[in-house]
Symmetry: C2
Subunit: 243 residues, 2 copies
Amino acid sequence: MPNPTAAMLVIGDEILSGRTRDANSNHLAIELTAAGIDLKEVRFVADDHAAIVAAVQALSKAYDTVFTSGGIGPTHDDITADAIADAFGASIDVRDDARAILQAHYDRNGTELNEARLRMARIPDGAALIDNPVSAAPGFTLGNVHVMAGVPSIFNAMVESVLPTLTGGAPVVSRTVRVDRPEGDVAADLGALAKAHPDLSLGSYPFTRDGKYGTNLVVRGQDPAVVDAVVEELVSRLGGISV
Amino acid sequence: MPNPTAAMLVIGDEILSGRTRDANSNHLAIELTAAGIDLKEVRFVADDHAAIVAAVQALSKAYDTVFTSGGIGPTHDDITADAIADAFGASIDVRDDARAILQAHYDRNGTELNEARLRMARIPDGAALIDNPVSAAPGFTLGNVHVMAGVPSIFNAMVESVLPTLTGGAPVVSRTVRVDRPEGDVAADLGALAKAHPDLSLGSYPFTRDGKYGTNLVVRGQDPAVVDAVVEELVSRLGGISV
């Protein structure tokens, strides 16, 4: 059976201007691969209501699960929750359960739950809250979309609480063979092995070290025995070392 | 006049599995911002013919310019050139101009231009070549799509040769104000300023330092005088420092 599929939507002007470098998609990719869920697509869009709505609708229709990152804070440019609600035709307002979580958090810190912070309790009707152990303001799940914070420490914590609730497939195992030959010298053998093993993903990644060309060959698949056999064959054909 | 728009397509299984972290989109974002071209969307897709074709068609229709990264090497999983040709209904084969560039390069190095390497001379009809000063194998431009290598040093060099050929708008200037107050305390003032200056982009990015909350407020716009005035107003309203 094929693994379940996933997509990610990274939301924020600061990513598209280059001011901030997205770290969340790589973290999610690693976690999903380990969980046996195939990340098929990632999109970055701006803090733009129409762009978020269109991307959420396209991705939630095309893939089993969607994760979003960014735009759920207290400021005017945090528009993700309202866009997600619109994408699903759900109504949205400050919700009592989310308000209670924020109130308790700010009471403990002696901070006022002002109007700006109350924006973080805006949760679409029908959404389930996602725990935020770092700074309280919850994420949420609506339909097959998990809406999470952009700050990496919070995003990672939210991924940790959402992932165990998802049904994964067979985790993909990955092994690398390093050969001290340029990519163009190993392409024919690699291509032949890829053709013989359509169930595996064989990738090649050139590098230079001390002025010499080399290639990392990466074998990925769900059956560790098959992966190991192909790794052995690469080592014997190309004289590489398994790293 | 609004700035021209751009999108980027990052191609590769290794990005979506988390093995490799994309560095090219951040580099391109910074370069485009400086050139006055608005990067509106980034997508990552797998080494999958149909996925690449669909993404290229959607992005090239929606934005003025599209940049792709990855999948133009010598191995079986390098399928970008053929997918781009399909996306535009162009035919593709080994082209004499690209073959001559590769032949000269490998002759200089005493390396054989074998069948695998010759794949890198597959260029769609009607495409213009993009110079690769690092490892010779050219990128190409077809329609409004610039097809470039995934290896960051080569990608960056290709960006450098393509950018001067594009017409940019007014570069966006960006200034940051750091305030030692949590985001929820500054949201109201920031929102009011954003409303008063719809031509600017005002973003807020929370951080913690030594256990205390702070916020970086970023003001972006095309008119440096207006950006400076809003920065001064933020400093005087919120007691921050311009950094």
